[in-house]
Subunit: 253 residues, 4 copies
């Protein structure tokens, strides 16, 4: 049974900061946001976690494997090197949405995202090492079948983008409502979904739903593991099986 540890990373007072004393150059904001995300991706990823850029001022991470002290260090390091600071809430749950919900509440209880007095709050709990199991995390890695042939080499780059976004938006809502899962677009034609215990039938249903809803054809590789990296790399290999064998759903166990 899955036991997902989710961390919400929220930049403190970001909205006001971006326009004080004057609106800042957009290109600089994009650079700052992207590099902050990249740093968090290295920190979390090097401990076998995954973090998703989400809205950039709010980033969602799956942090099975990171200790509470790791969270404190991440917060300290960002505070030393950026003109903004992070608040972090960590929680666990049988479903990813449950964990993310509790993590969000921890941060909201500490203060508004635009509360100029709320800085670097750090609340929550991690899974003790001795309670971690190889089933804690389930990751599904979806991509669009032959996106390059169907879209990238055929349509203009924005119309291709619209198709990918449609597929993502449809999958995202469905997986959230049907399965309390968290789906994230990660570039190209790829969507990574953090799931509870789901089986082949449920993934087939999801693919069918998206095809009917927005006419985008997906395939998926699924993996399980003690950490997001373990689950995710198994999912990537399963997805390679889809590509090689022409199947739509492959489970990595």
């Amino acid at each position: 049974m899955t036991n997902t540890q989710v961390t919400l990373c929220q930049i403190d007072n970001y909205g006001p900061w971006t326009v004080t004393p004057e609106p800042r150059r957009e290109a600089d904001l994009q650079t700052l946001q992207s590099r902050l995300y990249a740093d968090i991706s290295q920190f979390v990823g090097n401990r076998d976690g995954y973090v998703f850029f989400t809205r950039f001022d709010n980033m969602i991470a799956v942090t099975n494997g990171l200790t509470f002290e790791d969270h404190a260090l991440l917060q300290e390091s960002v505070g030393n090197r950026y003109p903004v600071t992070l608040s972090l809430g960590v929680a666990t749950g049988k479903t990813p949405v449950q964990a993310l919900s509790d993590a969000t509440t921890l941060v909201q209880d500490a203060g508004s995202a635009q509360d100029k007095n709320r800085r670097e709050c750090l609340e929550g709990r991690v899974i003790d090492d001795e309670h971690r199991t190889d089933d804690d995390v389930q990751i599904a890695h979806f991509d669009v079948i032959d996106a390059t042939g169907e879209y990238t080499d055929e349509l203009n780059a924005f119309d291709t983008f619209i198709e990918i976004e449609q597929g993502y938006a449809s999958l995202m809502r469905y997986m959230r409502e049907a399965h309390d899962s968290l789906a994230f677009f990660v570039g190209g034609d790829n969507v990574i979904v953090v799931c509870p215990d789901l089986g082949e039938g449920e993934y087939e249903d999801a693919i069918y739903h998206v095809q009917e809803d927005v006419d985008v054809e997906l395939q998926v590789g699924v993996g399980r593991g003690k950490s997001p990296h373990d689950a995710g790399i198994a999912a990537k290999h399963a997805l390679e099986d889809c590509r090689a064998d022409g199947t739509r759903v492959e489970l990595g166990w």
Copy 2:
């Protein structure tokens, strides 16, 4: 009348590279993609252009102000510092979609995104300096009214994200179909749209459409300028007027 110069930046052979010889760690791919985007944002932004991360392996930029030599230098610099290379297509048009379409065709004609022999193609034309005018670029900066109060401080972070994504997906399709415009989510609750010559009525219609379609309330500041930065900073200031005055549409001229 607008005269938008658009550049498509496409990473060469990226899909295959990410899985050769084995699938690479997802956190490293996220870091690479984000930092490459951040670098392009600095290069383009420092010349008063804007670039949007789009799908990360395909990035769309508005490059009024960048010369053809600037494009060559960007390509060379990326080739010197990353394990991947970029192909670039530049074109101009009365509408942003027209320009983007032509830019895409230039790259597609050079070879498939997964053609292992296509590397660093550079094709197209820029607007000569003496033909540039203060009307060349129109930028609309939308955000969600009181996103912090309505969503961020109230819902869990993923449900807030779903609401923002819905608003974006609706606006993106509408602006593309009705006005040949290119809309990009840029973090937080912000969407920047690159438009042809549109007026107050058209922006009011867009806002009304999104409200009816997905029940997300937007406001917008619009700016015009010789460069994306000029147009964009005027749009940001106009958006501050929306916030201060409670209006839904503000034009910065």
Copy 3:
């Protein structure tokens, strides 16, 4: 008694890479070198180690606290994100120079720095966790007394730089020859030295030597710890005592 774990990080075949097929833009090489160093500093530093930029194509790190698997992960992550790869040699010794010497030999035995077939070698041994003690690392943090008043606000920036370099070169040779220590300039007017077990008298002698040799006045804070971070932060606090009390040598234990 100190037990320093030292890692040599050497970029594979870098010299030839920088001029193939043509010499590359210097500014791009500087950017690549600095960002690679910064990434290694985050990776090593987040595990409480220290890495020094040294010659950029060869970087010396003190890695007490990093496991062999950590080294493999660092190597893999760099290989995923840069156009170059790293070879790593890890060794331990009673003196820092002894450890560094053995680490170097491990890399040299694997192949020349310009051997085009040597890629990503990883050799050596780390200190097992159960054998680590609070005395393993000794760090001395030197700086120039009132560099701002004496030099920065008075001389031109290059003549100030020459003075700092002279002080560094003198201290570096002395500490290497007298105490098998590794001294690194870390910016500003600061030099961090990795030492074996030394006492107040030895630090006084070092300061006297540099004053006589090149007429640069140093002060030093010294710390001990299980990791370079622990030892180093104690050294920084001790240095603050020098600044507050006007003393030349302060030991943090």
Copy 4:
């Protein structure tokens, strides 16, 4: 005749910032310093200038080709993305040291490096575009003959480093005193020197001096150009001639 434009980039109030409220993690300071330098290297380098890391809190750049507005933009962009700010002084002179001296005075006159009220000063003058010539900049690129065979593959990495540092310290002092030149170690076994009009004989003398002083054997390629990049890439090609032909001094004109 050379006409070097030099910019001093000095971080405002950096010393106090690094220890307020407490000393900050050394690895984070190293990361911050290196990435700030890398960003300045991209900004300046993309405009065909060169910047050298020098002491990291004080960086010296040769900025022929950068306008005063470019300097203002660099300053603004750094202020938007870092927790520190830069003060900049720009000056020109027949010799590099003269220009650097005047640039330093401009910054010193605005306030101490540790004056908590001095922020983002920007003073000086650039060379007007119509007064720029192909002789403005002379760059000499030195390296150690067969450093890999003589040192890197033979000695331990720190003793190799000491040898390179000795060679650099000797060359740096000599070129400053004899020729008002600015010499910078740029990694590996490379030193780039910014010179006034010097000829073959003067470079031979410099090489002879270093050999006699510290027994390190150098070779050098020299280039001239309108910008540091033009002069520097010519110098790199000339250095390749040294390597190919076994000569000690090669002029790229």
